[in-house]
């Protein structure tokens, strides 16, 4: 992130100097932060709304119920090394919280899951197949409702802010399945060697 940020700032400023657009650069640097604050204020209502809905779901125990329902299919999907199955309940809790968009509950569970799996492998500093599969499922996004994008579309005056829900679900399903398939292929190859 640090490298990316420095590269953006340096490249932008040097390009401006080279093309004689330093006045534009100056204006951008001073107004960019203001744009961010405007955006945040405009998103605030939607964030409060979605946060509130998730709050109700959480206190109804929806995440726990979903986690229980996910346990069995997940235990089939993951090929655990000995001892790693101890992380199954954290894995299902992490994924169910992520599906419902509760990042605050998902991250601690996910980190515990990774630590448990690392311990089962003797903390050897090497990512196991199950650890990688869990990571890839997480990075391919499993959130059911793209709340930030709905909020952003509403703020920009889209005719129908929620009409991206179906393509988002389809695209994220494709990426998750693809990620899991790659992991399985690598895991199978690793065992053959």
């Amino acid at each position: 992130m640090n490298g990316l940020f420095c590269a953006m700032l340096l490249a932008g400023t040097l390009y401006a100097a080279a093309t004689g657009r330093l006045d534009a650069a100056q204006h951008a640097l001073l107004s960019g932060g203001g744009e961010a604050m405007t955006l945040l204020l405009e998103l605030a209502g939607a964030y409060a709304f979605f946060g509130g809905m998730m709050g109700i779901l959480r206190e109804c125990g929806a995440a726990d119920a979903l986690a229980r329902a996910l346990k069995k299919p997940l235990s089939r999907l993951f090929r655990f090394a000995p001892g790693e199955e101890a992380a199954l309940s954290e894995i299902s809790l992490n994924l169910s919280a992520n599906m419902l968009g509760m990042g605050g509950a998902a991250t601690p569970a996910g980190m515990t899951a990774m630590r448990k799996m690392a311990r089962a492998n003797g903390n050897d500093g090497r990512a196991s197949d199950a650890m990688i599969l869990f990571l890839v499922i997480n990075t391919s996004s499993v959130q059911l409702l793209p709340t930030t994008m709905i909020a952003l579309r509403a703020q920009a005056g889209a005719a129908n802010p929620t009409d991206i829900v179906a393509p988002v679900l389809a695209a994220t399903t494709v990426s998750t399945i693809c990620g899991a398939a790659i992991c399985r292929a690598f895991a199978a190859r690793g065992k053959g060697v």
Partner: protein, 180 residues
Amino acid sequence: MRRGDMQGVCGEGERRVKALLPAMVVGCVLMGIRAKVSVYDALIRGAKEGLTTLVQMAPCLCAVMMAVALLRETGLMDAMSALLEPVFSRIGIPREAAPLVLLRPLSGSAALAAVRQVMEQTGADSRASRLCCVICGASETVFFTGSLYLGAAGVKKSRYAVFAALTAYAAGVLAAAMMV
């Protein structure tokens, strides 16, 4: 022609889509009543969490939007998009969406800034804007999540993790470009 078909499908489903959030409200409230939780208090606690997330995002978003504004105003972003156009247009990604596709795995704030930029440039309902929203909604900040989880487990050898995660992201981008 394919896009025309998709728009027809969207038109039919429009009423159902518009009912999505109201239906969610009814569902959540009924579930709350059934589980005997105080809906109002639960909603307040959740809203507080949502707003806290937003406040925590503020400094990052300011910094990144400053950098993105710099790239935009100086014309560097246009130059980069034009450079990438031959590759991206082949897989159905319009040039306006190119910066988002590259920034998304690196930084959530930068991706948000990029989507907003496309929306301002081309309108909220343009194909480029919709595609950006779908790509953004269907993916995660791969490098952030990766370093967080691998760091937590003390992993030094991540093996094929980055390759698998980025390939999955590319598959999602391709799927989005085909559907939107």
